[in-house]
Amino acid sequence: MNFILAVLSLWFMGASGMLIAFGRNLQRLSGLEFFSISFFIGLGLVTAQLFIYYCLNISYSLGHVVWFPILSFIYVVGYFIINKDITFLKVKEAVQWGMLEKFVVFIIFFQVGWILYRVLPMPVNSFDALASYAFKAKIFYLNHGIPHGFFGFSEDKVSHPDYPLLLPLVLTWVYLFTGFDDMTVVMVMPVMFVFFLALLYSHFKKFFGSIAALYGVFFIATILIISNYVVIIHADFVLMAFVTGALLYFMDYIQTFNNSSLCLASLMLGLSLWTKNEAMIYVVGYFLSFGLLIWDAKLLESKKLIKSLFLSLVLIIFIAGPWFVTKHIFHTSNCDLDISKLTTQKIFQNIKDYPLVLNETQKQVFGPKKWNIFWIVLLGIVVVKYKEFFKGNTRYLTSFVFFYLIIYMLSFLLWTRFPPIYYANKDMARFMIHWSGPCLVLTMFLLKKDFTKR
């Protein structure tokens, strides 16, 4: 019951944030989209609230935090009572789902049920959760806040104090409602998974129609490595949700030039920077794509777009800035990438080890146990549709997706602590998890014309 209250509090905070910021644009959102995006905005607001409490030295307790969810609840309920005539976007379609589509829906529900079955009885037990995410949440909860000097802790005391805090703070939030219960807290991951699928479906339906949306969601929902990361506490799935959401809103913005979509894309990217350090590459990729959009536009339009780009930049800095300032103040550094140890010799050594990295990559791509035939199908579509890559709006997606791939693969040359194969073994699957969302979006856009052929 208390866990449900924790989730509801997250949702109501996000929904109130959405209504305050985008209330006038609600008719552009479908009900499902409002429902799902509110949860993700809620994750961000909860993180912001707990981080501000840390800055103001206010201790973490239910009595201290519960006012915002209560006010949010009153605001959201009041808003819908006062604005009874409010309508959400309805995407009308003449198509009906056949038996196959209904079977696919059944499989999605079965997959979610199977995830719940695996999560329900299991306490926190995965390596990364024990080492970092859940451990930090335990520290914050038992200490009634982020301990003094936390960001300067050595790796012995806590792994990676430089890692962004969204997930640990969200887990702390759940603990504030449930008490320290490291079995229930894991449930937040499947909840996030369901909201992510709903967000994905609502966007895909707007872009491609309900049947394409259903299959798009089906493929991502039934990739087993993603569900394996949803049953434990790990930030890669969360990063995937934020980055994919940001990309979908960015594509919406490109098609409609509506600033609320741009703001939501920026919000999601800002929050991705609170989720994992790798998000920085996505943010750079996003601005690269935005630059390309401005480059392509006519003079008058480009002036408007430059203003929008500036707005987006300001929003991202506003959201993620406090985290980077904190990192700067406390001189947190990544133990795996030490620039002072990065010599030419080290880079050449890493280049020599590179075939092992490529070998690990192909194992991931062609391993059906983890990825089914996801990457094989994507590769096939990429080969067949290569001419579409740089056509129309797809080019902005292409630049976003491939920029990340190139930078990520190059990053193996820069690691200083261990040889690149260590990171490839450890991180390749995770990288592919958060990259798979944007790749799916790109594939859907490549196939867009084929979805509507008669």
Binding site: L100, W114, M122, P123, A131, F135, K157, S159
Partner: protein
């Protein structure tokens, strides 16, 4: 014809669902199924943790937790650094604080490293598992 009505798509879907069904119930790592079965059969939280840590290691951590004063610093010997056991110990023992440089207490789990200069015996769980304390600590 829309893509979803093509033979290629049906082919992809059949292969996808078959592989999904084959691998869904397979273990992600050895022991996963047995662990899940145990977790459902034993609703008690302590029993679950005992299962995950192993009997001896669980008893040792509980012993350490009860013996050491709050927020004391420690270092464990007898397990590999940066291994799963190491992160489990750090997680379960908090607010006891791991400190490899200058710990107040040295915890020896199934190991014969002691006695060590500057430390004296504090408490013993059994012949192989015991706790040393820094000599200047009262």
């Amino acid at each position: 014809m829309p893509f979803f009505k093509t033979k290629i798509f049906y082919g992809i879907l059949i292969i996808w669902i078959t592989l999904w069904a084959v691998f869904l119930f397979q273990e992600n790592k050895p022991g996963d199924k047995a662990a899940l079965k145990f977790m459902y059969e034993h609703p008690n939280h302590d029993q679950k943790i005992k299962y995950l840590l192993g009997n001896d290691f669980y008893n040792f951590l509980i012993f350490s937790q009860k013996t050491l004063p709050a927020k004391a610093s420690y270092r464990i010997f007898g397990i590999k650094t940066d291994d799963l056991e190491d992160t489990q110990a750090r997680y379960f023992l908090w607010p006891l604080i791991k400190d490899v440089d200058n710990p107040q207490y040295e915890l020896y789990f199934k190991s014969l490293y002691g006695p060590k200069a500057g430390y004296k015996l504090f408490k013993r769980l059994d012949n192989m598992s015991y706790i040393l304390v820094r000599e200047n600590i009262k």
